[in-house]
Symmetry: D2
Subunit: 260 residues, 4 copies
């Protein structure tokens, strides 16, 4: 069986923060969100690697990137530090077929905004309130085994309006105690690549500890993995499939009014 | 009546080329495509300006951009010369409500690719063959007054697969003598901005001389103009619309298994 | 100015009910929801008529239907009594360009289900809870003048999953006190007709008394009105636009393997 | 391995026609299109049955329908004879998860029109002209192993405008010698069911003899088969997930102006 090569990229700054907040976060994710997820998402059909912002080449060498089938992205306070050249490379790789799973605050990451073409803004409030998630596309591969509704007891609020393109297929929608709603699980296709944005997962709420959340991410990896067959791309017409007009295009100059 | 401020941006290189080809193109567009269009698209509800790549600030000062309601873009051989900072500004302006009309080879422009998130590649062949256009969305504002089908006698072929996002609404589809098809008129919405890509319009075929093509562009300007009312954007929740959870989020740490 | 011919159709059964509940509803809508809306939605560009289920021809004669630009539909307990022949006629008229605005419990009406192709089921709970509405597509014509968020203090809950087709463009989304969310304002296009589903508006909650709700319906009427220009439909190719193959199709029988 | 239960339904009238035309068609499909396809689409993961209009219960007993995972539909001259009650049952089954593959002239079948909500009209010309098909969604499961472009040497023309809903995802687009284009392979999702419309396949052109066409249909069966996990549907809220408002809804009558 060919395994799916998964790379979990994490900004990895919050978990290393000094003081009380860093200590607090490390109680939830002692070795970073990436390490935690790498362990929890283990599956016999996955080959999981991790990468972080402060590693050489910001964690993503050409070799690693070119061998990644699905890239998971967690970033928050250091989006701007990610180099544009790296974003270019990741985009190219996605368009060629790599899957991208963008988590939580990654909605503002350079790579997600690049893929969407929008600013990807939403409303937010950090209050630790109850979030109820509804499975809207119940038969979608990402929703396999997921109940119709479930609860995250305390979470940061993310709300509409969320400026993503209209072709975002809604898999999950969320309700927040404080009065907000959001499309919290949305898929996109861009050329040959599949993208899944999933909003649950703040650094100070233990959301990724939850088994349902882990199941959703596992499903998303399988869904986002590249299709098995990719036809060879032809960038120029081979020798034009049919009749080629070889006549002098200059003739066209005479046709000032085309519709006579 | 408040007029629609239209800015027609042209790379303006082909029309200034030396030698036979430049001379040939100047027979079609003596003062550039931008000047030609500015004249032909005149209407009492439009205030039309032009801008070109080699002008100061690449033609688009902040003042001009911030006063543009609809930007028309024609570029081909110098896409790479457009500065990223300018692309950033245009994108921001589109997301805030400015309309964008991308013509022909502009499918590879930085601004169109930025808005789409894809490479926007298509198949092409420069052969001067017949193109037949079909109006697919007959009641769309851009199709008002346009016949169900019409012909451009000689044109460069642009063909599928055309890697644009799935939410592109098809207004026109084209048939080429040589065996190709393409979604040749497609609309997108990105945040508050409307985008229309229209493939007819090469520099050596007198496509913009055609009255039907001019009508389509006129319709597109009116369609892409910003909506009259734009509610004030709130980037942070005012004081949270409802119950705010003020309790200590640290409590959440105890909930390791969320669904009990 | 050509006025928009609006017909407000109401099942008109709840408002005539005997006993305490009927009395109660008549306090809100003394002469029926249709009469109330006809008065409140008055505008100099609208010509409003009403129609009800128990009138001759179920309220919609051919003459009235053929002169209706936008049909508003309110039904609930008598969906099944609407004749299939009438549904056929309404569908035909919508596909030819008439707008359809479906209110509240009309999600289960024959005409809405016919247009959607799905059962249009949703979750519900009649509890009189708070509904908060969010304007997701803030620059859409239906959202003109509507605040980013507003509240209906007491309403029946309608919730996801709501099985409508994926091309439903979300204009509004709702949050309910009891933990549910729904796409509460959604538009569709079907051939030449525009459709708007809007969930607020139960018979025992005075939702249509609200000025914001009335503004949304007014906007929706203008949005759903037919486009001014409709090109003549050709059901058969006129004389085939190009080369017609007149050769005997029997020849094709020889081509058992087509791709050689 | 659980096999996919495929039922191929054929109107089966053309193949039984008297005279020269019937004789001609029987040279291509001696025992009907259904029998031919049942043989050619054989695969170890399929359990294929056939059904025809003139069999008892129009070929589709409740038992057969309820055990069908993917229904393939070929009809042309007898669409009107299919009973509405049967169409109701098929629709219900599709919404519950059965896949539907609609072939060629089936675009006008009652079941396809029911699922689309539109009249599904297109332009056509029976001339035996060349059709070139382009694979637009190259990584879609239905396109696995299909070349970027291929030719049907002689076929009936089907052309745009084709009035299907906007959420039709384009898998294939076709070019016709006579100047027409069409979205010839399009997918839809309706509640839990997947639908694929594929236009190639007239009764007098041996299109289904082609190996590429057969591969597309094989792919489509696998794509349209129901998802493995379907969560139990709850038609009423269990005991309301959160706070239920039990207070008297009559209170609402006092709130005549809601937004104060």
């Amino acid at each position: 069986m060919k395994k799916i090569n998964v790379t979990i990229w994490n900004e990895y700054r919050h978990e290393l923060a000094e003081g009380q907040i860093g200590e607090y976060i490390r109680k939830i994710y002692p070795h970073g969100i990436h390490t935690f997820l790498a362990e929890k998402l283990q599956s016999e059909d996955f080959e999981i690697k991790t990468a972080t912002l402060d590693e050489p080449e910001q964690g993503l060498s050409d070799e690693l990137l070119n061998n990644t089938d699905v890239l998971i992205w967690w970033g928050h306070c250091a989006h701007d530090e990610v180099k544009d050249e790296l974003v270019d490379k990741i985009q190219k790789r996605i368009l060629a077929g790599m899957g991208l799973i963008v988590l939580h605050s990654g909605h503002m990451s350079k790579i997600f905004r690049r893929m969407m073409g929008t600013a990807c803004r939403l409303r937010w409030r950090e209050a630790g309130e109850k979030e109820r998630i509804w499975t809207v596309a119940q038969t979608h591969p990402i929703a396999q085994g997921i109940p119709e509704t479930f609860v995250i007891p305390n979470h940061e609020m993310y709300g509409e309006p969320f400026d993503i393109p209209n072709d975002g297929k809604i898999i999950f929608m969320s309700w927040f105690e404080g009065g907000n709603v959001i499309r919290s699980g949305v898929t996109f296709e861009r050329d040959r690549g599949k993208i899944f944005y999933f909003s649950p997962g703040h650094e100070t709420f233990p959301v990724y500890h939850d088994a349902v959340i882990q199941q959703i991410l596992t499903n998303a990896i399988r869904w986002a993995a590249p299709a098995c067959y990719v036809p060879p791309r032809i960038t120029k017409q081979p020798e034009s499939p049919e009749i080629i007009r070889t006549e002098n295009p200059l003739k066209a100059i005479n046709t000032t009014v085309l519709h006579k």
